[in-house]
Each structure stands twice: as C-alpha cells, then as structure tokens.
Amino acid sequence: MTFNAPALLFVIVGLALIGWLAGRARSALLAARAGVKLHSRPQYHGWYVALWLFAPAALFLALWSSVSPALVTSAVLETPAAQGLPEFGFERGAILSDARSTAAGRQAAVRLPAAAPLVEPYRQAAQRYGAIGIGAMLALALAGGLYGYSRVGPGLRARSRVERIVMAMLLLASLVAILTTFGIVMSLLFESIRFFRLVSPAELLFGTHWNPQSGAPQPGTFGGIPLFWGTVLIGAIIAMIVAIPIGMMTAVYLTQYAAPRVRRWVKPCLEVLAGVPTVVYGYFAALTVAPALREFAAMLGVPNASSESALAAGIVMGVMIIPFISSMADDSINAVPQAMRDGSLALGATPNETIREVLIPAALPGVMGGILLAVSRAIGETMIVVMAAGLSANLTANPFASVTTVTAQIVKLLTGDQEFNSAKTLAAFALGLVLFLVTLLLNIAALRIVKKYREAYE
C-alpha cells in the first residue's frame, strides 16, 4: 500500500461526513424523546463528531507526509545496496531521488545507473511505511469519531466546543506561513554554513574582488563588496533619488491640492502601477532607458559608458518604487491632524508654507518608515537588475558603468549547468542570507518607526 496523501485526505473527509450525519442523527433522535432538552442544535453535534474524526487524522496525515520520506530513505540507507553511495550531498541526493521516483512509478527506468540497485529497497520500504501510516491514520480517525460520537448527549456543549476547535484550526492555519518561512530561512542558513566552511565570512563581507570560479574555491574571488556596492548604488541611491522626490510630490499633490475627483482617479492608477510585473519594467529599462542613457553618456564624453548601466536600472527601479513611496507618504500626511494644518493657515501661512513647514516635518517619521520599506524592496528586486544592470562586478561610482547586484549574482550563480555543491553555487545561498538579514533589519526598523509615529497621533 502506498501512502497517497491527497487520496487519504479525501477518505477522511468522507469519513467525517459520515460522522457528521451520525452525530446529527443521534442528537436528533435524543431531541425527539420527551423531556430531553439539548444544549446545542443537532447540527453542532454533527460538526462536533465530524471535527473529532477529521482533525486528529488530518494532523497525523500532514505529519506523516512530511516525516515518512525521511523514514523511508533512512530505511533504504541501511540496506546493503546503499553502501556504495557517494558521500557528497548533492550527488547522493540525486541518486536517491532517482531511485525514489522510479520506485514510485513516476518514471519508467532509472536515469543514473547507480540508482538501479536501490529501486527495490525503496519500493519495499515505501510500502511498509505506507501501510503503517494508513493504518495509524484510520485508527486515529475511528478513535476520534467514536469518542466524539460517544459524547453526544443532551448535556454536551457542542456549540461552544465546535467554536473552540474552529479557533484552534484557524490558529494552525496562521502558523503555516510562519513555519514555512522559518523552514526556508533554516535551509538558507544551513547551505550558507556549508559555504562558510569553504570561504570565510570576512572574505564575503569585506573582499573587494568578485569572480567565483567552478571547482575548488580560490581565495580572493568571493569578495562581496562590489555586489553590495552595486546593490546600494542602484537600489538605495539612484532609485531613491528618483522615487523620493517624485513620490513625495505626488503625495502632497494628492492630499493637499487634488480635487476629490482627481484623487479618485489618480490613486487607483498609482496602485495599478505597483502591480505591474517587474519583468515589464525590466524590458523598459533594458530596451528603452539603457540605450538612451548610453547615447547621452557618449554625448557627454563619459568614458566606458555601457549599455547596461547602473543608472538605467536605478531610474527604472525608482519609477517602480514611486507608487510605494507616494502611498506611504499619502498615509502619513493624512494622519497628521487637520488641526495642525488649520493652526498654520490661521497664522497666515500659505498652503505651500504649511506643507513645507508643518505637514512634511510632522509626517516625516512615517515617510521615513515608508522609505526604509521601499529601500528593502528595491535591494531585493531582481528582474530589473538582471535585465538592465549587467553582471560584471565593477566597483565604481560611475553611474553610466555596468555594475551588478546581489540578486543578479544569485540568479547567475544558480542558472545554467552548475555542478552542485561547489563553493560557487553555495555562494548564492550565502548571498541570499545576507540579503535576507539586511531586508529583515530594514523592515523591522521601518515598522517600528511607523508604529511609533502612529502612536504619536492617537
């Protein structure tokens, strides 16, 4: 018997339905008797039985689906056929997964010859653990269902119990996203640790030369500074020089000057702009902005103007960020009490003076929070830089030159035919970790600022 989670889920949903009908029928029978007053309506008794039947079995199903592959694999590894496996993780993993797919019938024959002897052990182990899992799950469902059914009676507060069980299920659902993120971070961390065994963290963080080669790691080729600098130049400097003034001016116009009718149109338009796939911006940067900038640079006589320039990527990224900044600034300016504005106008300040001297300073903390969020988005943005910023790791302040960013390098490191397990591939994870930590810090800082600011006007 193989363990097929979707089919089994179907089975327990069916069982739960039966439980629902049984619970309702039993309480309805009870209710029909003279002198019996049920605490809850029959439906709730039905739900009570159904949930008792479904929840433990479903939890077990989820748990078993995630641990049983590991159990199967470890069982296989103990067979004599597995002794000849290579030590290295990636290759070993590839052979194992090849054998697993063949055993499960997802492919007709093994692709790697080394996997052939493992197919049969895999099949057996999978069957054994599948049978154990199915048996345990059915037993749980049955036990839960019977327990729920036995509790059905006039005194059972099924209504409040159902409420509580539903609450617990909602809580579990909300944990899914958190736990998944946690898992992703952990895997990032583990791969990064493997990388840092080969290359020191200091080299990655402070080295100035980036030129990773396949094969054994060569010292002095994993310096991340050019990448970090490129990321900062594009995402935090050029993009913000474009986005902050335009975004702020947009927000000021929309909150202070625009007629309600204009605001009703312009705001949704900006929001739509924020939803444009970044690859579209990427095209725009690579095909329109970059060539124009290059000609412009050539006209100015700038040396080594490249068709892939930091400026092109930065400007387009700034445009992409504008709606983000303007909507954050819009919110902050709106949060400044009307009384503040009136106070300034009543002193004889013009609307313009009021905006400059009172509204923007008062809204500044909120705007700063928005800017930090925008920066964290910009430095994590990938598509535009891959398409327009180039891949050469130059350490230069010339905005017309080609630079590269952390995200662009991650893409480069992980695409194409790469041998897994080399320092070059692992570097992608380490870069990802750095990026993750920096954006995390930026986000925390931004949220704290925004929260503090909100409190100030409550």
């Binding site: 009136d342 009543a346 002193l347 300040a349 013009t350």
Partner: protein
C-alpha cells in the same frame, strides 16, 4: 433689536447681512454685528447654532472648506475682507485664531512661537526674533513656565500650557483681532482660570472674540455678548444687560438653562 444697540463707537470689525452656506445648507442667516476694538465679545448659543461657522468667516478660515460659501459684507478697519483685492494670508496675520483643542506644531516651544514671525518676515535677526518670542510668551503668561525649556517639543507641555502656547503663537504675529473658539473646553478649571486671566490681560491690546458654552465664563471675561440661535443672531448687547435683563425670550430661556 434697534440699530443703536448694535453700534459700537469704533468697531474693529463689522459684519453686515452675512449668510454662510455649506453646500445648499444655510448655517448663518443674515447676521450683522460690530466687534469692538477694546472689548471682549462673547458668542454664546446652543450647539450647532453656527457660532464657529460665523467666527471662522471673520478670518476666512471657511475658505479652506470646499463646500463653504460666505455672502454679505465683513470689514476689518473698513476694508472688505472678502474683496478680491484682500490678501487672505495678510488677513489671517491680522486676525489670529485659537482653536478648541490646543494644536501646537510638533516643533520646539520656541519654533512654535517663532513660526508666524518667520513666515511673515517680522524679525530683523536672531536677536529680534528672540525678543518677539519672549514678549509673546510673557504676554501669554507662559514665559516663567517654559523659559528653561524653549527647546523642548511644544507637544510635551500640559494641555493648558499648550493652549497658552497657541495663544502666544497667535500673539507673536502681532494681530489686531484674536478669535478664540471654545479655548477652554479641553482644559481643567485651573488652566481655564489662567486663560481667563490672560484674556483680561490682553483686553485693550487686541480685539477679542470668544466662543464659549460656559455662561459664567462669558459673564466673567466679556463686555459684549451675542446670542446665536439656529443660525441667526438673536440678541447682542452689553454682557451685563444680556445676563441680567435679556430682551428676548429665547435668550432668557437659554441663559437660564431652559434649553441648549
């Protein structure tokens, strides 16, 4: 009401036949009133009768509401304040306003007071500005309490101090008229007493109009009282007369607490 009772020897501001509309809704109906130069004028009346609306039309703060429209004539020293030639920014510097809830800017005490003089270019230099700020704070009776903390944020002061800061802020631009819309309604009795003392001090230096729901306050601080009801000016006269010998039944009912 006879015309005699409405006339004041040298009015600072004069309203004649003023109507105020919010969209199609009329909030003020044909109000004529004189605001005396050396007097404190109190506006009283039940909630929603249009006191704030009328007050705001005296410094054109109603202009900031898209739906509001003012007709009739209001003059300041004989100048029509709704004339196209009137500079509303200048007008508001001459007719200052203090609001119901203290609304200091999130700036230092000093910068709050210096705000008006700075935007109007009233100070010749740093020393001059210091002097203006000090004088305004002294006049507002706040100097002794804040002279050592001028750099602290104005929002960190107590409610009563904040309100006096707002008065100092209005005084600093050297206005001719100060409009106060329920300036004590957010304050405790002690802070209220301080503001009332302050109004006594300021009388004669500025023409003052104060909106209040507190009859005793109106009786204590003002020399003229105007009673508004449903957008109209029901009765206007010497404060003592209004409170001891009202001519209109509606006024009598209101000040004796029959309604409102």
């Amino acid at each position: 009401m006879t015309h005699d009772e409405l006339t004041i020897a040298n009015p600072k501001m004069k309203a004649e036949g003023v109507d105020v509309f919010y969209g199609a809704k009329q909030a003020i109906n044909n109000v004529s009133i004189d605001v005396g130069t050396d007097l404190v004028t109190a506006f009283i009346g039940p909630s929603g009768c249009g006191k704030s609306t009328f007050l705001r039309s005296l410094n054109r703060m109603n202009d900031t509401l898209a739906s509001a429209r003012v007709t009739g004539k209001i003059t300041l020293e004989g100048e029509d304040i709704y004339a196209p030639s009137m500079d509303v920014v200048q007008l508001r510097a001459r007719v200052g306003m203090v609001f119901q809830k203290p609304n200091p800017f999130p700036k230092s005490v000093y910068d709050n007071v210096a705000y008006g003089p700075r935007i109007h270019g009233l100070a010749a230099g740093k020393a001059d500005l210091d002097l203006i700020v000090e004088r305004a704070l002294v006049r507002a009776g706040l100097w002794d309490e804040v002279k050592d903390r001028l750099g602290e944020s104005g929002t960190a002061l107590s409610g009563g101090q904040q309100q006096r800061l707002c008065i100092a802020r209005a005084i600093a631009v050297n206005p001719e008229v100060i409009l106060m819309d329920e300036p004590c309604s957010a304050l405790d009795p002690i802070a209220t007493a301080k503001i009332e003392d302050l109004i006594h001090e300021l009388r004669g230096k500025y023409a003052i109009v104060i909106v209040t729901h507190n009859m005793q306050q109106a009786a204590r601080v003002s020399q003229r009282t105007a009673f508004f009801h449903l957008g109209t000016l029901v009765e206007y006269g010497k404060t003592a007369d209004i409170f001891t010998n009202p001519k209109q039944d509606r006024t009598k009912d209101y000040i004796t607490g029959r309604y409102g």
